[in-house]
Symmetry: C2
């Protein structure tokens, strides 16, 4: 294995920053997220992640030189609510926006609970995992939730009493209960609907229960 | 190590079911819960748990013959809300009861998030951990929460829209966010107060905000 840092190698045909490089970089990160969720950080195998992403271990190493780099990239690939929960569509109610957001997330949010779990389990020997999770996933989600709540309150569709910490806890808790098998989240459209049914009645202002 | 199952041994002086046996049995379970929270199931060491509980590895083995038995006992020792959230004190408001319950739990509930995490991380190779967590911790908590909400609704102090799944998610989510360092739970009385400040405004009926 080369001892130079990743990114400094300049093999012909795979220009760093080029389209192919970016595609492989992203594929590896998504494969790392799935592997982290399935096996946890302890059993994360860069070789298996490379194979899952359809590249050689050597190529994977050039993108992410250590197991930790790969894990951090995997965490970074988790859904963070930015864009889709903050995005405003004209004429949409807050309930519609929440439904739309949950539906976008329903395709890939099943990674969240197991990745949170492995970050927490390895908090002592690998604290970077938890820091990355907070910085790149939990805080952006809480910010997006905060902006969503704020607009909903201005519009009178969301109760003043609901804060971004409480709604984040509801969000994190539902995913954890789903991951723990304590609440049957299901998949896809069904999953988005189940999440909506739990979240909306708790946060909506009087008169918006049936939005 | 003896090959007979634990509990069948009859060493003089440690009668199974006797006070000393029960005390050691409980000490080992509590030490196992703390070890599970600190190190996770993968690194759970029966020898270290025995040492923590102040008994020999041989004695620990007689109580819990396998690492899994010890882990299951540890999970069983987690706070399950039974008794203290369900208990009714005359003249107490629902807000008071919640405050009292959270204060009782504030001494030992910091184990919940990391134990949930390790049960989830080991769901494939050791599914008994997750089953035990659901059966002995999550379901009893949800039942106690359900009874609490039901009485609060009858008394008009809790909003009809709040269900036991949503409040359980809020509960699980706050502990997870605390464990992940995303919400500063703190300890003891401060911890109980922080949890109360997040939970009560979300669940209380109009007019009970300042209970």
């Amino acid at each position: 294995m080369p001892s130079r840092p990743a990114g400094e190698s300049q093999r012909p045909g795979v220009r760093r920053g080029g389209a192919q490089y970016e595609r492989i970089h992203g594929d590896l990160a998504r494969a790392a997220a799935a592997a982290l969720a399935r096996r946890g950080y302890g059993d994360l195998s860069p070789e298996a992640v490379a194979s899952e992403a359809g590249v050689s271990p050597r190529t994977a190493f050039r993108h992410y030189p250590t197991k930790l780099d790969l894990a951090l990239a995997g965490i970074d690939a988790l859904p963070d609510y930015s864009g889709w929960l903050e995005e405003v569509v004209a004429g949409e109610s807050m309930a519609d926006r929440l439904r739309r957001g949950l539906l976008v997330g329903a395709g890939h949010d099943e990674l969240l609970a197991p990745v949170m779990a492995t970050c927490l389990s390895h908090r002592d020997e690998q604290p970077e995992l938890l820091l990355q999770l907070r910085r790149r996933v939990l805080k952006p989600r809480e910010r997006a939730i905060g902006a969503f709540l704020e607009e909903g309150k201005v519009r009178g569709e969301i109760r003043e009493a609901v804060g971004s910490t409480a709604m984040s806890a509801l969000d994190v808790g539902l995913f954890m209960m789903g991951g723990l098998g304590q609440f049957p989240l299901g998949r896809g459209r069904r999953r988005a609907q189940r999440l909506f049914e739990q979240i909306w009645p708790v946060i909506c202002a009087p008169g918006h229960e049936d939005d």
